[in-house]
Symmetry: C2
Subunit: 460 residues, 2 copies
């Protein structure tokens, strides 16, 4: 047992420190395609803010690094172990401390699962808006670490827009409170927004006050099949031009529909080569849905039987669930990589065409789903090499990924819409941000963590 | 003429540098109740990012400080001159460079007036959501500097939620681009959110890409008079409990209604002692308004004649305009101070009662308006001393302000919901934030501006 593991076991008790190699290896990585630098030295299962403080202090004193972890559902390596590190799992800190329905806020520990918070909020007619595909197991703390998005962002915002205050353990173990419990507040710099999406590199979130939104009184689901991707993308723009703001507007290409069919036993691919899935919600849901149906029909969409898409009906739910699960649940690897770029919405069609060109050029597979309402695309690239040709295939896949990122940036886009940089996307960060902008971020990192204790080498 | 003025005149040309004492004095302050440290040495009217870079470089080299300024509509002293400073007015950089309707974004220079951007967006069925009371003359750059709020925040968010990318001149004159042109983006730390609300202390915004929202297809205005403030506040909570999210929900107390009557020749005070002004908008506006009317009636509200409140009717507009102009247009001073606290919404009634107690205790006048939907209150305190008793009155007023802030903090609130800290509220910042949190902010300031060139002594 490494010395730090012994120290932590002594300070926290044996039930909070794990060194079993199998468990440690499992906790040393998230779902990113790349692999961690090295397995961690130990995993701490923190039960309280004090446990986190104790761990951070002990690690800082011993020159050991600390990597915070929620459910490990991240897709960019933000929770990957680094060399000489201890993982702090926040999953046991899973209490919903307060749901203040009149104020429309909740106070939670970081290990609360997104879906559990939503279930608790629903009892009061409220919801927690950010809904990453992993919401059934991802934690609020992890969502905060990556500034997680999801399907409902275009209407309800991303994680940052729902976080009001944070309790944070700093790199020297001190506990501070950032932000305010009110919807509005502009006292000093917005450190909450700075911490959200910082992937545990500036502090470890041990508590959060989040804003809740109204659970919509009504939800209408519309599924429209199109003959091809360009016409579906034109449908996206037509909905925008009609000035309807859907809660969800998801785009799936033919390969994604076929994948979904294989996974779910459906036969959607026989109905079209691109699927646009739209949900309107709230008091105007019906009126908005009527407009959406009209413009999608005009754009050449074939609407799925409306009676089968009544809100809450099994078919409507099934459509949305199929989309939510579309990435599949397995971890990715270097032969199968899901991307997460965003482009200005008007360029969805052009970008999708570029993706097809890139896949053909490098002879790799490609399928596409997109949060079309906000221009956030998740193409998945994969290679299926013959034995002995793996390395060449990986090189081709990497070149395809590089090109897909380069084109997104040339269109005014970003290399990550909602997954974060972690370790996996660091190689592209310099393509998006100038050296001076990166230097400013390193300066901020130094202010918060001068000795590089917290998740070093990630995010920036 | 001070040496820096001569240098800048030589480098920028005489039409961009003003040293006339009357003009300089006018540009050396915003609308805060406190006074600037000292008048500026000169005012630069920048016409381009290059002008800003030139000015910052010249000032940095000469050890002169730089204070950026939009329209000077701020209420906390963020644009007040500091000792040995040059004001950079951005008001001439007032071009709307692009309205990309399909993408629902606009690209603007910082001196664009909020209302002008809204007018340009409206041609495309879009709007720029943040709407501070000063929107007819305040600039987007100034709104970004203070993270301005307004009436529509509870539904549409504050300035930070509408800013996607910024072009920023740093303290050494270098120009950097922060953020992304897409709705979503999580590459690295959220420096845009850090800059928004930083009051020109970290950089000078010379360009912004902002998100636009849909202009609502319909707006319904509801005005309800209540016998007293507690019953109106109960109405606010009842609307929330009915899970309706109004676009606007404004509360005025009796003194504010009387002021409005005097200013506008109306006789609203005869109809009740508290006014709740609600707007619903969008496709669900009518359905939402029906619910709002019902719950407000149940809460004891007397609804103004509905036929006179048709959307767009002069009466409906008049109600909203009266509220928007309620603060009056004069600058404040030490005998008349408008506050800007926020408390959790459920405590509106309790806090309003405390305000009345405090005003009585210190024998000062008090009137109250509130963005009730998000718990952001604007009480105004004033004193009308007899000649010779001014100093005692100021002392009483200050004690009343201090108490009002203390009580808001004790309720879990904040000392500023949307006006910013500037210079005026610095005395309370330590009551809200721990020394360590303030130290982190000073560290960030040092990273961006190690020599204290940019608006030193403000915001943090």
């Amino acid at each position: 047992m490494h010395e730090i593991a012994a120290t932590l076991t002594q300070q926290l008790g044996p039930d909070k420190v794990a060194t079993d190699p199998v468990l440690v290896r499992e906790y040393s990585q998230d779902r990113a395609p790349d692999r961690p630098e090295a397995p961690a030295l130990a995993v701490v299962f923190a039960g309280s803010a004090e446990d986190v403080q104790t761990t951070v202090r002990a690690c800082a004193a011993a020159g050991v690094r600390v990597v915070p972890r929620g459910a490990g559902s991240g897709l960019s390596g933000g929770a990957h172990a680094v060399k000489d590190s201890v993982i702090i799992s926040l999953e046991r800190m899973n209490r919903i401390l307060d749901v203040r329905a009149e104020d429309e806020v909740a106070v939670v520990e970081p290990g609360v699962v997104n879906a559990d918070l939503n279930a608790a909020a629903a009892e009061h007619g409220l919801m927690y808006a950010p809904d990453p595909a992993s919401f059934t197991f991802a934690t609020i703390g992890g969502n905060i670490g990556t500034n997680a998005g999801g399907l409902r962002c275009a209407k309800y915002g991303v994680t940052r827009d729902s976080v009001l205050a944070l309790d944070v353990v700093l790199a020297d173990g001190e506990l501070v409170r950032l932000g305010h419990a009110t919807f509005k507040g502009v006292a000093g710099y917005d450190l909450v927004a700075l911490l959200v999406g910082s992937e545990g590199t500036l502090g470890i979130v041990v508590g959060a006050t989040v804003r809740l939104r109204h659970l919509p009184v009504k939800v209408v689901t519309i599924a429209a099949f199109f003959p091809d991707l360009p016409s579906a993308a034109a449908g996206v723009l037509a909905v925008g031009r009609a000035r309807v703001q859907p809660a969800i507007m998801e785009l799936m290409d033919r390969a994604s529909i076929e994948d979904a069919d294989a996974l779910n036993g459906t036969a959607f691919a026989s109905r079209g080569s691109a699927l646009l899935l739209v949900q309107t919600d709230g008091f105007g849901a019906d009126a908005e849905a009527a407009v959406v149906r009209e413009v999608l029909r005009e754009a050449g969409g074939a609407l799925a039987d409306e009676s089968s898409l009544r809100a809450g009906s099994s078919d409507a739910e099934r459509f949305v669930l199929i989309r939510r699960n579309n990435r599949g649940s397995g971890a990715e690897d270097r032969l199968r990589v899901g991307e997460d770029v965003a482009v200005p919405r008007s360029l969805l069609v052009d970008y999708a065409a570029e993706l097809e060109r890139i896949a053909a050029e490098y002879r790799v597979g490609m399928k596409l789903v997109a949060h079309a309402g906000d221009g956030n695309l998740h193409p998945t690239f994969w290679a299926e090499p013959q034995p002995g040709e793996e390395e060449a295939a990986v090189a081709d896949l990497d070149r395809a990924l590089d090109d897909s990122v380069r084109v997104a940036l040339a269109m005014g886009g970003t290399i990550t819409g909602e997954h974060g940089i972690g370790s996996f996307k660091l190689r592209w960060l310099g393509w998006e941000q100038s050296e001076r902008v990166r230097e400013l971020q390193r300066g901020i990192k130094d202010v918060f963590d001068p000795h590089g204790v917290l998740n070093p080498g990630k995010a920036i």
